[in-house]
């Protein structure tokens, strides 16, 4: 181990270290705490990873997996706790560069790659081997890259531009990059989310090789069957707390799920299930799927594979599922903001055609996007103008009536208790909860028949959360069909009359709100049903 550390110039060629017999932990994390404004993300987490071990990390959305990985990769710094790595006690990982220098690499989902550049330039980004005058040594660059590509089993020339590669091949380039850093600990963050089955088995082959060479591996995945296929041990995080570290051989998927669930529900007041047995469906979704080879630029690679459900007037339905299960994609497709391959959407029995946000809005669908700032708000514009945005494009008078707009906005400000000093204030300066209320007001103003809200309380403080929920109930009570997407499982359980669970672009099950437990939902969301 130490020999390799002394010569960082040598690429981490596999034979460096064989797995030593007992091999104490290569990484040892003790009592890590991390607090973000309003969130205690990690509460005394422990984690040991041995050399030559694949250590899986599982937990619900928001359990703290990403935060922990970001601390190891130098993106965040812990508030408390210590990290020992490769025999050095209490290392401070102050930056991403520092993590690289220590030998910790994180394989993101092709997030750290540069499309137009060659594979070699990607692998050695910013660290290209150079000659005496500082010029890049192309020959050495190519050769070293070729060696690394061989190790990860990628038979492609180093000069090929990255844009020519498939998702799996890009993943391999990421791994080659990690190897070039002489990494002794490699973190895989949901590596198979974008991969086909064949590509996944290639990846597992490479992970097996890395394992043999004594690299420690942290493997994060929502797919429990993968954990059982590839991992030696598994650690469970729940709500920022470390639950257990278990040998995979001695546990079952059901056992893991049971350890992952059970967060504090006290923040949410469970709503009384109202009697709404009658009523025709307001929203019907039939056979919704992605176009055969679309989902191109700007869209994630999750594929929708035939989604059917309906929501009655006054009903609140939650779409649950893990990240990458297709919840947001389904919402976008229903709203007409994502190309649709097949299926139809009906509101009150009438088909929406053509699929576009404008026709969805005309049919009475409202959508609150997941990312408020990126896709929802007009940040520089006033509260008033943000509230009236969706009304603008609909039929209405030719002339604007600013006085009327202002009084409407003032009305919402009072009713929804939006904390701002003036409705002419730019929304940029509002808090997250208040921004979300502005978004809700926009749709309340047009009185939607169907409202889809994607992560309505993300980044919203507890008090505002309850207020947002109350607004959703109020809408439902007035006959709107409400669809809630939430990564926060307790929230989904608390607000919904019915829960639809998505898994890999399909609905894997439906549970009525009264019977729902976190465990039931998580089983449907993370364990493949035997076919």
């Amino acid at each position: 181990m130490t020999a390799a550390a002394a010569r960082p110039d040598i690429p981490a060629i596999i034979p460096a270290v064989g797995p030593s017999g007992d091999s104490g932990p290569i990484l040892s994390v003790r009592g890590i705490h991390k607090r973000f404004p309003g969130v205690h993300a990690l509460k005394g987490v422990n984690l040991d990873v041995r050399a030559g071990e694949v250590h899986a990390l599982v937990g619900e959305n928001g359990a703290g997996k990403s935060t922990l990985m970001h601390i190891l990769a130098g993106v965040h710094r812990p508030d408390e706790g210590s990290i020992d790595f490769r025999g050095r006690t209490d290392v401070a990982i102050a930056s991403e560069r520092e993590a690289q220098r220590l030998g910790i690499a994180i394989v993101y989902q092709e997030r750290s790659l540069f499309d137009p550049l060659s594979i070699a330039e990607n692998v050695f980004a910013g660290r290209q081997p150079a000659g005496a005058c500082g010029f890049i040594d192309r020959r050495r660059l190519r050769e070293r890259t070729r060696g690394l590509l061989e190790m990860v089993g990628l038979a492609v020339e180093p000069d090929v531009p990255l844009s020519a590669l498939s998702p799996a091949e890009r993943q391999m380039v990421e791994i080659a990059k990690a190897l070039s850093l002489d990494a002794r600990l490699i973190i895989f963050d949901e590596p198979t989310a974008a991969l086909t089955d064949a590509e996944t088995s290639t990846l597992f082959g490479v992970i097996g090789l890395l394992k043999k060479s004594g690299v420690g591996i942290i493997y994060i995945s929502h797919r429990l069957e993968e954990v059982f296929e590839i991992a030696d041990r598994v650690s469970v995080l729940k709500d920022g707390e470390w639950q257990a570290t278990l040998p995979v051989a001695g546990t079952t998927p059901g056992d893991l799920v049971a350890r992952m669930v059970g967060r504090d529900l006290s923040v949410f007041t469970r709503r009384m299930a109202p009697d709404r047995a009658t009523g025709t469906p307001r929203l019907e979704v039939r056979g919704l799927c992605d176009p055969p080879e679309a989902a191109g630029a700007g869209f994630s690679r999750v594929r929708l594979r035939g989604i059917d459900f309906s929501v009655r007037a006054g009903e609140v339905v939650a779409l649950a599922g893990l990240n990458g299960s297709g919840r947001t994609e389904a919402a976008l497709a229903i709203f007409g903001a994502r190309p649709r391959g097949g299926g139809e959407i009906l509101v009150d029995g009438r088909r929406i055609d053509p699929p576009s946000p404008a026709s969805a809005i005309a049919a009475g669908i409202g959508y609150l996007p997941e990312d408020r700032k990126d896709a929802g708000l007009f940040l520089e514009m006033s509260v008033e103008r943000n509230i009236t945005a969706a009304r603008l494009a609909r039929r209405g008078g030719f002339w604007l009536d600013d006085a009327e707009s202002r009084s409407v906005a003032e009305d919402f400000r009072r009713k929804m208790r939006i904390a701002c000093r003036d409705v002419r204030q730019a929304v940029r300066s509002l808090s997250g909860g208040n921004q979300q209320k502005v978004m809700l007001a926009r749709w309340l103003l047009v009185g939607p028949r169907v409202l889809i809200v994607d992560e309505p309380t993300r980044g919203v403080d507890v008090g505002s959360k309850a207020e947002v929920h109350a607004l959703l109930y109020e809408l439902a009570a007035r006959g709107t069909a409400v669809v809630v997407i939430s990564s926060d499982l307790p929230e989904a359980l608390a607000v919904a009359d019915r829960i639809l669970v998505l898994r890999e672009g399909c609905i894997s099950g439906e549970i009525s709100g009264a019977d729902a437990t976190e465990e039931k939902v998580l089983r449907l969301a993370s364990i493949a049903v035997e076919r």
């Binding site: 708000l377 514009m381 494009a393 904390a419 403080d461 505002s464 207020e467």
Partner: protein, 330 residues
């Protein structure tokens, strides 16, 4: 929910929180006042206030003022158009060619030229909004194309245009030439539409956040195509008016005019990132630039200095704005 301090950011209305066009407008008034005072001491400066000089300023700014109206619309929508200068040349030449060489009656020739300009703008719009080529690249390309076609049709220019046509640009009313009235009418109409109608208000949303605008049901692509079409037509109008005033359709009249228009519009409060600006601001920007140029001429500075000074003023104005905005956000 903790109530925010009611006046956390805006207790004192600082000058930095005023829109740029208001600051600039105040600056114009200040400069004119200073000029008047200075004129008492240096008689050379008082030539500024002669009727001849004032009417020359107006006459000269009409062309850019008309172009700036269309440019402001585009910048509000988050795009811009480098081809408006070439389009002005092209439409003047087309009008001249139609009435001199093809023998069309003047109204028809003008309509034909305006149609050409509208089509050119529409083309820009389709390439930017539908094909999704960046606006800089698209209009940089069409700038070359339009000016090339203008040269092909008109050579260096078409002279001695019919009397009935040149009257359009030379007529005076209340001692002010028709192009100035036209600019005022156009800016007034555009300003009012942008300020008061639902339809045109959509441009602020599109410029501010196109993704959110799309998700709010706004037809972003269609609206952008329309904006380019309008801006192209306005550029065509500017070219026709200019040709009429000098009774000559020159193929190079619009060279550099697009940059002048963008400079004026940005000085007047628009932002390259879109969603900001008013037609009033565009006019203030045009006036400010015309005033500076005129002053430099009166002070007998060489023309090289105009570029240096106007360029520096632009960077200073926008830079100061940017620094102040960042300070406020903190």
């Amino acid at each position: 929910m903790t109530p925010r301090a009611p006046d956390s950011a805006g207790r004192r209305p600082r000058w930095t929180s005023l829109p740029r066009e208001v600051v600039l407008g105040a600056l114009i008034v200040l400069i004119v006042l200073l000029l008047w005072l200075a004129g008492l001491v240096y008689p050379q400066l008082s030539t500024f206030f002669t009727l001849g000089n004032l009417s020359a300023i107006l006459r000269n700014l009409a062309f850019e003022g008309i172009l700036a109206t269309g440019m402001m619309l585009l910048l509000v929508a988050g795009v811009f158009d480098l081809s408006v200068g070439s389009m002005a040349s092209l439409s003047g030449v087309v009008a001249g060619w139609l009435m001199k060489k093809a023998g069309w009656p003047v109204p028809l020739a003008v309509a034909g030229a305006l149609g050409t300009a509208a089509f050119g703008g529409f083309l820009n719009g389709v390439i930017v909004a539908k094909v999704r080529v960046n606006a800089l690249i698209t209009t940089l390309g069409t700038m070359g194309v339009f000016s090339g076609i203008a040269l092909l049709i008109g050579g260096p220019g078409i002279t001695f245009l019919p009397e009935s046509f040149s009257r359009l640009g030379q007529e005076e009313f209340l001692g002010i030439q028709a192009p100035v009235w036209l600019m005022a009418a156009l800016a007034g109409t555009a300003g009012f539409l942008l300020w008061r109608t639902r339809f045109f208000r959509q441009y602020y949303y599109i410029g501010s956040n196109p993704k959110a605008a799309h998700l709010s049901g706004i037809n972003v692509e269609g609206m952008q195509i329309l904006a380019f079409t309008i801006a192209g037509t306005i550029a065509g109008l500017a070219g026709i008016v200019y040709a009429s005033r000098i009774q000559t359709a020159s193929s190079t009249v619009g060279v550099g005019a697009e940059l002048q228009a963008i400079t004026a519009v940005i000085l007047g409060g628009a932002s390259l990132t879109g969603g900001r600006g008013t037609i009033f601001g565009a006019m203030v920007g045009v006036f400010f630039m015309a005033l500076m140029k005129n002053l430099l001429i009166i002070l007998r500075t060489s023309s090289e200095w105009q570029g240096i000074i106007l360029g520096a003023v632009l960077v200073l104005a926008v830079g100061a704005d940017s620094i102040m905005n960042r300070r406020q956000e903190r």
